[in-house]
């Protein structure tokens, strides 16, 4: 975030680096000081312990494996939601009657939090990957659907009418005119959906882990719960939290980057 000022004079560059790092550095320093006044139990959390735990967890492969497992679920769940959300969104956005039919159902499911689906998912699929997947898909579905509908209903009527005048078949108009015109909205929906999905997978894995005695769900969410429930290793929990944050940030940046590459005219 601070590297953008490279072209600016040196003094302001250092100023902005200072501004960006001063308060976080002070906070970490205060944390370290506070931790040193506590008992010298190696499990009590402090920045240095968190750093060494991070190295340990990465070098034994557990952290990377769990993160990849969670990410894999998010990607698959997001893919399912993308297909369902965009297809239904195109139909609802372009056809008034379909919209009227599905709108009440969609709106009544929207206030039901993804985690409320968890008990049902456990009943249906057990405590493995499918239960987590269904929650991720459910969570990612709504932002995708709502934004697709919004994007499609905002498509310039003139474009559609022009295509109709030229005798383009309906299905082709949908694929070649409406879909590209709604793409910015769909991309926004994708970014929001991916963020929600990443939160939902942590919640799902935590919940499954908490409610099935460790269970076989795996993933970084469950890893956190195991550290809480079995070893009370706060450093490891903090490491997992940081990884969760970094992955969320990377997902967000990746989607912004793709948005920028696909639609540079919007920036």
């Amino acid at each position: 975030m601070t590297t953008r000022t490279a072209a600016a004079p040196n003094r302001t560059h250092w100023n902005s680096v200072l501004e960006a790092t001063l308060v976080p550095a002070l906070l970490v320093f205060a944390w370290q000081l506070w931790a040193m006044t506590l008992a010298t139990d190696p499990r009590s959390p402090s920045p240095t312990h968190v750093a060494t735990t991070f190295v340990d967890l990465v070098s034994n492969g557990g952290l990377i494996g769990a993160t990849l497992q969670s990410l894999g679920r998010v990607v698959v769940g997001f893919g399912l939601a993308l297909v369902c959300g965009v297809v239904l969104g195109l139909l609802m956005g372009s056809n008034r009657r379909i919209r009227d039919i599905f709108d009440p159902i969609v709106e009544s499911f929207r206030p039901i939090a993804p985690m409320a689906i968890l008990p049902v998912a456990i009943l249906w699929f057990g405590t493995g990957t499918p239960a987590a997947l269904s929650i991720v898909t459910y969570a990612a579905f709504f932002p995708l659907l709502v934004n697709t509908v919004h994007g499609v209903s905002r498509v310039d009527r003139k474009l559609v009418l022009a295509a109709m005048t030229m005798g383009v078949p309906r299905a082709r108009i949908l694929a070649r005119v409406i879909l590209p015109a709604a793409l910015p909205s769909i991309m926004l929906g994708s970014r929001l959906a991916m963020g929600v999905a990443w939160t939902a997978i942590i919640a799902a894995e935590l919940g499954v882990g908490a409610k099935s005695g460790g269970g076989g769900s795996g993933g970084i969410g469950q890893m956190m719960f195991v550290f809480y429930a079995y070893s009370i290793d706060l450093n490891a929990i903090v490491v997992c939290m940081i990884v969760v944050g970094v992955v969320a940030l990377l997902i967000d940046r990746l989607f912004r980057f793709v948005e920028y590459r696909l639609m540079p005219w919007r920036h």
Binding site: E19, D100, P111, M115, T199, G207, G221, M224
Partner: protein
């Protein structure tokens, strides 16, 4: 293949099934219930117009949905996995009759209200401070941007250790979740106050306090309200997770409790309640938004 067949059959059966569900005691007389709809449909004029309104279409959609659910439940044939809507309605009535439903809903909404108030008290003043002072923003924004990607859910294990299982954990998680949309929207609202308004006020010799109170706050409030609704949406999703994992009461706890007891109709009943309470809260917030910021018509959530 069978799914397709049931799908086509739904509209014809829909209305009568739903009429039965509304009143479980009379599920057998679904035909008489549906009958009064006919004469109204043939009457011309106002009533007919009502029938073709969105409300009627919505009722029809719900009817089709309930019918589909009913058929699916019959097809699955496993009431522990998917009870029929009639059983869920019966469970809801019994939960409502012994008051358990209202107890849990009240606990959850109280926690929600407390945490939203705390989040507003923390985030809005800080947002005004950061929005008005570029220097404060430059120093504090990095901290916000470091913490924001860590979802509230990820704080649950640490929160469990610090606060234990109980009331504080869900409130803590919700305050954390609600804090960021409120803060960011407040900052954005304060920053995007129309410069012309500020200059006009300054030309007329308005002092700092009056400027804040009569110019900046009213101009920023619509954006703050949008942040408040986003905060509510996030908090409502988070409370279910927090209660499910780390609380001995509340709606999130109830669904998981009855799941473990394999009393599935009650699980579905509470899920319905979660949806209804969430919907009602959103309605209330929209009303609040219109009441507090009537000058912000047309500003909607992205």
């Amino acid at each position: 293949m069978t799914m397709n067949v049931t799908n086509h059959r739904v509209p014809e059966q829909g209305v009568s099934r739903a009429a039965g569900v509304d009143d479980p005691a009379s599920s057998q007389r679904s035909e008489p219930d549906a009958a009064p709809a006919l004469p109204t449909a043939t009457k011309p004029g106002a009533i007919r117009r009502i029938v073709s309104t969105r409300a009627f279409i919505a009722v029809r959609s719900f009817a089709a949905f309930l019918a589909l659910w009913y058929l699916l439940a019959a097809w699955v044939g496993n009431p522990i996995q998917l009870p029929s809507p009639l059983r869920v309605a019966a469970a809801l009535i019994s939960l409502g009759a012994d008051g358990e439903l209202f107890d849990h809903a009240l606990i959850s909404t109280t926690r929600l209200a407390i945490s939203l108030v705390v989040a507003v008290l923390l985030a809005v003043p800080l947002g005004f401070f950061m929005g008005l002072s570029p220097k404060a923003n430059a120093y504090l924004d990095p901290v916000v941007e470091l913490l924001r990607p860590i979802s509230g859910i990820a704080w649950i294990p640490l929160g469990l250790f610090i606060f234990g299982v109980g009331d504080v954990l869900p409130v803590f998680i919700m305050v954390y979740v609600a804090f960021f949309p409120l803060l960011l929207n407040t900052i954005a609202g304060v920053r995007h106050v129309d410069g012309k308004l500020v200059n006009a006020a300054r030309t007329m010799g308005v002092g700092r306090r009056a400027m804040l109170r009569h110019v900046i706050v009213p101009a920023a409030l619509p954006t703050v309200m949008v942040g408040f609704r986003l905060a509510f949406a996030g908090a409502w999703a988070a409370i279910i997770a927090a209660e499910l994992i780390g609380s001995p009461s509340g709606l999130g706890f109830a669904i998981e409790w009855y799941r473990q007891l394999l009393m599935t109709p009650k699980v579905y009943g509470f899920i319905v309640v979660i949806g209804i309470v969430g919907y009602l809260c959103d309605l209330a917030l929209r009303a609040l938004q219109r009441w507090l910021t009537p000058w912000a018509e047309g500003m909607e959530l992205a």
